[in-house]
Symmetry: C2
Amino acid sequence: MSDILSKNTVLKALLDQHLDDLATREGLEKKVILEGIAKGTMVLLGNPAHKKVRPILVGQPSAIKVNANIGTSPLCSNDDMEIEKLHVAEAAGADTVMDLSIAGNLDAIRTRMLESTYLPLGTVPLYSVGQQLLDNEREVSSMDPEELFAEIEKQAEQGVDFMTLHCGISYRGARMGAEKDRVLGIVSRGGSMLARWMLENKKENPLLEQFDRLLDISLRHNITLSLGDALRPGAGCDAGDTAQFEEVLNLGVLQKIALERGVQCMIEGPGHVPMHKVRTQIEAIKTLTHGAPLYVLGPLVVDATPGYDHISGAIGGAIGVTAGVDFLCYLTPAEHLTLPDKDDVKAGVMASRIAAHAGEVALGTPRAIAREEAMNRARRDLDWEGMKAQAIDPEMVTKRRGVHKDEKVCAMCGKFCAVKMVQDAKII
Amino acid sequence: MSDILSKNTVLKALLDQHLDDLATREGLEKKVILEGIAKGTMVLLGNPAHKKVRPILVGQPSAIKVNANIGTSPLCSNDDMEIEKLHVAEAAGADTVMDLSIAGNLDAIRTRMLESTYLPLGTVPLYSVGQQLLDNEREVSSMDPEELFAEIEKQAEQGVDFMTLHCGISYRGARMGAEKDRVLGIVSRGGSMLARWMLENKKENPLLEQFDRLLDISLRHNITLSLGDALRPGAGCDAGDTAQFEEVLNLGVLQKIALERGVQCMIEGPGHVPMHKVRTQIEAIKTLTHGAPLYVLGPLVVDATPGYDHISGAIGGAIGVTAGVDFLCYLTPAEHLTLPDKDDVKAGVMASRIAAHAGEVALGTPRAIAREEAMNRARRDLDWEGMKAQAIDPEMVTKRRGVHKDEKVCAMCGKFCAVKMVQDAKII
């Protein structure tokens, strides 16, 4: 038995229960899964306190996963709407959701989400503490680290499956991020709060100093730590700078300590990265963090595309997957502009699923290749039901075919259909 | 003076008239433009008979251009709607449009489009001939090549600026494309008609055999030949096969002959190509066609994404640009399903513009980099007017900001704005 399972008994129990199912779903040998978890290159998301959860694996060679961020904001807070978005994300094929709520009754929203979904749920516990501060017009610097640890413990007990915790941003890193070297200093909400706390108090990051306390909590609930990238580039021109890699180095050190204690970690990654730097960024981060599952936000390859950032993110995400990315956090058309609505949630999940699939096809993943082959055979045969079955959004196929849905050909070409033209040729 | 200008006097007159403006618009030295045109790595689209035309350059280092395909289909034919789509394409920032109409009065639609737009207009003359055949239930094999040459001449006189002509598909290539080696034989509409004609008549492609006649017509009107890729892969798994490259080799030979005669050529490219093969495809095609401007349809990196092919195409297009692609033909969300509507046209143009911009940023093109820098400075300053000015779709910024458009922060984060959080820190 691998070391991690002897140390993390909650994880062991979860694996005992779900390993057969996971192996079937992923099309992987059990041995591959156990080895990946032991090495820390794969993690199993699932907190037993989340009663409905269907645990999932993150980390290649398991399938690339997609996360959808939902949650209230101070300018747009409606719990029912967020639950609707949760179900839209599920239906669109998201593998996880993160509740990033920062307005309303956060405990109520979170527990309602946990009760409503079988998808592993992630959070950023710092947001709850931040909300208390900002809503009460308290200075960010007045945060007591004990409030943060208490919040983490509470959310673990509620059943949160994975948590973004910005453990790697040091006092030194916060100064680097806030300095004028960067065009866009710090764009991580949690990271910016922690940085401000450190800079105003002249103190080290409590999540870094007291990392052991997080490990204790994690072990009791199999919380997967998603080590946050507070200093990810917020502009393509900042990608790969000293501030970013100061934090990545720390994340690698922390991931090793966590694994040693039996705690599962993912690494969060960029962010805004121009296309020609995506591969080197991903390879560098994966190396520095010992192959831990890499969870990226984008990467967004250009910044001039507000309203279309799901597309800019899909370009970076697809390339990222071929370079080692394991888990894609969606970007929606609303990114950088407003809170996503239901349509944005669907558009975001679809864009990330396209990136994941494109990356897997390029990597030669058997299931992705089989899907493409089946789609193309269906196209050759003008078999619309077959195409629908392989499409990432079967409903869309029916919807767009519209009144012409029973035609053999499509409404773009009609009798000019090239496929039919050659098939009908009388070649002696 | 370069050789091509002494042979193509229509082009020379056009250049004399527009060179200053082109140099300014492209931010290039006139010398660079003249050299590019002389070498055939750059073309100037513009037929003087298209009265309103504003000629444009295609070919790096001039900016990457984007084409929008519009036009009627047998199942959806409405001239007014196509004119509306034309204006949507213009407003969205397309650089050219192609009229791919295959239903209704094609002469009327085409001349109306030419009268309506300043964008260079492209066509596929074979469609008009094909429409006559299909509408009259004549066998494709009964086409008289003289009908095709007459159609090309007529359209040149009407003012069409560039024409897709499938000159490179040989009888040998047609057989390769139609054989069972491919999953999806021939997916080019014009190409499939020509292939059927050749296979049923056991004759060589008249556009290949009588290429000189095309050059004569082109020279009289400065028609840019867009040498079509009848055998482009229609499925990712077919990319790079013998049939495809049999045609590419012919295109390279023809491009050289054309340039020698003073006729400008572009090369049309794939198509369906998995991500890991995009770079090698583009580099191979560019080499075999002597660096002529490469005009690609996608490339679509996956096939299982009907309804979202503009995204799959943007991934391939962006990578393609970094490998040498000069001109992107859009794909819309309707591709493979139905005729695009106005929303699809806008979505398609935007997706291709994102791909073009992402590629140019990766290549370090000064104008693209400057745009990114200005966007990021505006973001840092929470300067929404500045962001709007740099956004590829300024209207979208206003639309999505909605009721919160006068707020300093956006409705995603509100007072949790990370940028503000760090800027407001009291660091002594």
